[in-house]
C-alpha cells in the first residue's frame, strides 16, 4: 500500500482539480476518479493510502462504493473519508457504520483537511 497516495473520487472536474492542487502541494500523489466504478477499479489496482470519496456520484451511491471497498479483502484496509454535501446526522451515522474513517461536509476547510489527513491514513479500519 502506498502511504503517500490518495485516490480522489469526485464527479465535479473543477473540485477534482482544486483538490488535486491542494493535495499535491501537501506532498501526496493524487489519482482522480469521476465515478464509483472507476473508483472501485483504481482502488483495487493501485492500493492507495486513502480514498477521499464524494458521496454523490453519478453511477452509484457513495455508500455502495464504501461497502464494496470494505467487502473486498484487497481494498478493505484502505481508509475511506466521505466528502458530502449533506450535513445530516443520519447520513453521518450511515457513512461511519459502513466503515468510513471520517465524514466531512463540503466545502471543507482545506487547511484543516491537510492537517487531518495523516490521522485519517493511520486510522485503523472499522473492525
Amino acid at each position: 500500500m502506498s502511504e503517500r497516495s490518495i485516490l480522489l473520487v469526485e464527479d465535479s472536474e473543477a473540485i477534482r482539480t482544486a483538490f488535486t492542487i491542494l493535495l499535491e502541494d501537501a506532498g501526496y500523489r493524487v489519482m482522480g476518479a469521476g465515478t464509483g466504478g472507476e473508483a472501485l477499479r483504481m482502488a483495487g489496482e493501485h492500493a492507495p493510502g486513502l480514498v477521499l470519496l464524494d458521496m454523490g456520484l453519478p453511477d452509484m451511491s457513495g455508500l455502495d462504493v464504501v461497502r464494496r471497498l470494505k467487502a473486498d479483502s484487497v481494498t478493505a484496509a484502505i481508509p475511506v473519508v466521505a466528502l458530502t454535501g449533506r450535513d445530516e446526522d443520519a447520513d453521518r451515522q450511515a457513512c461511519l457504520a459502513a466503515g468510513c474513517a471520517a465524514y466531512l461536509v463540503k466545502p471543507v476547510d482545506t487547511q484543516r483537511l491537510v492537517r487531518d489527513l495523516p490521522g485519517f491514513m493511520t486510522a485503523s479500519p472499522a473492525a
Binding site: 465535479s12 473543477a14 473540485i15 482544486a18 483538490f19 492542487i21 491542494l22 502541494d25 454523490g56 454535501g85 449533506r86 450535513d87 445530516e88 446526522d89 443520519a90 463540503k106 466545502p107 471543507v108 476547510d109 482545506t110 487547511q111
Partner: protein
C-alpha cells in the same frame, strides 16, 4: 343535481331497479363506459327488492378520486424532497469549487500573493460561505414544510451540543469580545428529541444572539425543568443585545415576515431561521417564544421533552422495558 354520473356495480336486476328509482326522482343517470371515467361515483348495489321510496339500498360511494389525489400529493411530496436534496447538492458543488480554489489562492499554493490580494480572497470565501448558509436555510425551510417530515427522536445531552454550536461561532464571539456562558442544571435528564432538528434550533438561536449583540456584550444559554410541565425541559438563550419591539414578538416566528428589512440587510439573513425553529420545536410538541425589551436584550425560550417525559398513550419512549430509538 341534474346529472348523477354513476357506475352501478353488482346484481344487474337491482341495478336496473335503482336506475328506475333514480330516474323517477329526477336524476339523469349517465351510463359510463366500462372504464370508470374520472369524476364518476361508483355505487355498489347490494340490496335486493328495491321498491320505490322504501328502497333500502346500501350505497358505498367510494370517492376513488380523493384517494388518488392523496396518493398523488404524497408522491409529489416525496418528489419535492428528492428535488430539494438534489438542488442542495447541485448548488454546493460549484460553491465548493469556488471556496476551495479561493483557499488555495489565499494560501499561496499557486504563487505568492500580496496582503491586499489576500484580504480580497478572504472576503470572497467569507461571502461564499454566507451564501451557502443561506441556501441551506432556504432548503431546510422548504423541507420543513413537507407534510411527511419525520421526527427521529433519540437521547442526547445539551452540553455537548451547546459546546459544538459555540465552537462554530468561536471567531465571531472573539471578534466581538462577547462573554459566553452556559448554565445547565447538573441533575437535568437528557433530551428525548430529533438531534438534527434541535441542533438547528440551537444554531439559529445562539447564532442570532451572537449576531444581534454588540461588542462587549454577553450571551447565555440555560436549561431547567419546564415549569408546570413534568418531564419537559425549558431551554433559554439570552443576550443583552439590540432587543425586539413588543409588536414583533409574534411576527418574527412567521415565515417571510422580516421585522425590518434594514436589519436583515445589515445582518444578511433570509428571515426564515426562526420560523424553521418554531416548526421544529412544534413537531416535538414543544413551544417557542421570546421575551425582549428593545435596546436591552432578548430571551428566547423553547421546550422539549426529556427522557422522563410522560410517554404518549400506547408507546413508551424509553425506560418502560423498551428498546428505544
Amino acid at each position: 343535481m341534474e346529472h348523477l354520473h354513476v357506475h352501478l356495480q353488482g346484481d344487474p336486476g337491482t341495478a336496473q331497479r335503482l336506475r328506475e328509482v333514480l330516474a323517477r326522482e329526477g336524476f339523469r343517470v349517465v351510463e359510463p363506459p366500462p372504464e370508470k371515467p374520472a369524476g364518476a361515483i361508483v355505487v355498489q348495489v347490494r340490496a335486493n327488492g328495491i321498491n320505490g321510496a322504501s328502497a333500502e339500498v346500501e350505497m358505498e360511494a367510494r370517492v376513488e378520486e380523493l384517494e388518488r389525489s392523496v396518493l398523488e400529493l404524497r408522491n409529489l411530496d416525496v418528489a419535492k424532497s428528492q428535488f430539494l436534496t438534489n438542488v442542495s447538492h447541485e448548488l454546493r458543488t460549484p460553491l465548493t469549487a469556488i471556496v476551495t480554489y479561493g483557499e488555495i489562492l489565499r494560501d499561496g499554493l499557486l504563487g505568492e500573493i500580496s496582503a491586499r490580494q489576500r484580504d480580497a480572497i478572504e472576503s470572497m470565501i467569507g461571502s461564499c460561505r454566507q451564501l451557502l448558509a443561506m441556501i441551506e436555510e432556504i432548503l431546510t425551510y422548504a423541507r420543513s414544510t413537507a407534510t411527511t417530515i419525520d421526527i427521529r427522536p433519540g437521547e442526547f445531552g445539551l452540553r455537548e451540543m451547546v459546546a459544538e454550536v459555540r465552537r462554530m461561532n468561536e471567531s465571531l464571539l472573539d471578534r466581538k469580545n462577547l462573554t459566553f456562558s452556559v448554565e445547565l442544571g447538573e441533575s437535568l435528564p437528557p433530551v428525548w428529541a430529533d438531534r438534527d432538528k434541535v441542533a438547528h434550533v440551537l444554531r439559529n438561536l445562539m447564532g442570532n444572539a451572537i449576531k444581534f449583540t454588540p461588542e462587549g456584550g454577553w450571551v447565555k444559554v440555560q436549561a431547567r425543568a419546564a415549569p408546570g410541565q413534568p418531564g419537559w425541559l425549558q431551554i433559554e438563550v439570552a443576550d443583552n443585545g439590540i432587543g425586539i419591539e413588543p409588536e414583533h414578538h409574534e411576527l418574527i416566528f412567521r415565515e417571510f415576515a422580516q421585522v425590518d428589512s434594514s436589519r436583515a440587510r445589515i445582518h444578511h439573513g433570509t428571515g426564515l431561521g426562526l420560523s424553521i425553529a418554531r416548526r421544529f420545536v412544534e413537531l416535538h410538541g414543544g413551544r417557542i417564544w421570546v421575551e425582549s425589551t428593545l435596546g436591552e436584550g432578548s430571551r428566547f425560550f423553547f421546550t422539549l421533552p426529556s427522557t422522563e417525559a410522560v410517554p404518549a398513550e400506547g408507546e413508551a419512549p424509553r425506560g418502560a422495558g423498551g428498546a428505544a430509538g
